[in-house]
Symmetry: C3
Subunit: 153 residues, 3 copies
């Protein structure tokens, strides 16, 4: 890796963020693959051209399990994408390494449990609790960025 490699810039914090964030992106890719598999297994396609290829136009239809996968994916887009931004900026604010890692770990675990609870249809409020657990460190990072940036305006 060349001298200005990102991983060196901020001590131990940035690598921990990159591991958590990249694993969450891969987790989202997995949800997309699962959605496609459920579409094939339940024969429920969103587009006529896909249905035609898999048996006929009658398979251009919605399915509760496909919709569930899509809601899980939507919720990931609501929460993980802002984390990619907040966690990256926060890593450069010089946070305490232990506290920073706890932030990233909570987001990571919260989002993994959220997906498992959603796709596994776990009893409420497992999913909502996981959502909240992952959102709290995100709000914390947002407020710290806001505070630090406002001081430099």
């Amino acid at each position: 890796m060349p001298a200005p490699g990102l991983a060196m810039v901020s001590g131990q914090v940035l690598p921990a963020f990159l591991v958590c964030s990249t694993l969450l992106i891969i987790k989202m890719y997995v949800v997309a693959v699962i959605t496609g598999q459920v579409r094939l297994r339940k024969k429920a396609f969103a587009n006529p051209e896909d249905a035609l290829r898999h048996g006929g136009l009658q398979y251009c239809r919605t399915d509760p399990d496909v919709e569930r996968c899509r809601r899980a994916h939507w919720n990931d887009m609501e929460t993980i994408y802002p984390f990619l931004f907040l966690g990256f900026v926060y890593s450069f604010l010089g946070p305490d390494p232990f506290i920073a890692r706890m932030h990233f770990l909570l987001v990571f675990l919260g989002r993994v449990v959220h997906t498992v609870a959603y796709l596994g249809k776990l009893r409420a409020p497992t999913r909502s609790v996981a959502y909240t657990v992952a959102q709290i460190p995100c709000v914390s990072m947002a407020l710290q960025i806001l505070w630090e940036a406002a001081r430099h305006l």
Copy 2:
């Protein structure tokens, strides 16, 4: 903050961007909270397990006000996420600080008015005008990044 802190890198531009972008992320979090509150108040849940916890399966249903919140959120994801990327890169291109701040401020105000117009059901075309006001500086930043990057290919 340590020496390579992001806030110092680019003079007065990056902090202004970080304030606007982080406030917009918090605004999106608020829309998510409002969506949840409307679901509870109107008793309209997307998942059977949530409906069961709040009175019965008959509450697993759609509701116009919930759908409105979700459309506002979708539009935020269409517009604010690209801004997080464009504004960040643009901040490092050495733009004029005043012009850069005007870009960020227009995006910020446009998106706040957009959400208020959406959730408040304001008369058309308030919402569309706010959308356009926020998109113009985004397109401007995109073109400036493209121009600068193409010169260095």
Copy 3:
């Protein structure tokens, strides 16, 4: 451009990434504009206040062509947003310039063909193949980031 301009930081890789990523964001903006045009042409609006402005409440309705545009846009949000993050971080890992450019080019071409196949209703599996072509370099970048970051934990 001032000394710490982003474009200089990482040789020839970052400008290539910025060109591809910014063009893809502009492509997404075009899909949004097309969606609005299809709504106006087919008279199919998502909100009562928009329908009222364009002829009456009976035009607050769904339309297959509008839904198709929205699915194309959703798929962009699923795939292009992670690329903005992965490609940016990957550009700082010191990759081979030729291999890096091939990564970015595949994502760019895959996503452009995906949109054309979606909106042009091309025969399956054109769209799915384009989706996969764009995802492979994204997974490759994710794994390289993960590998590099894990070594620095």
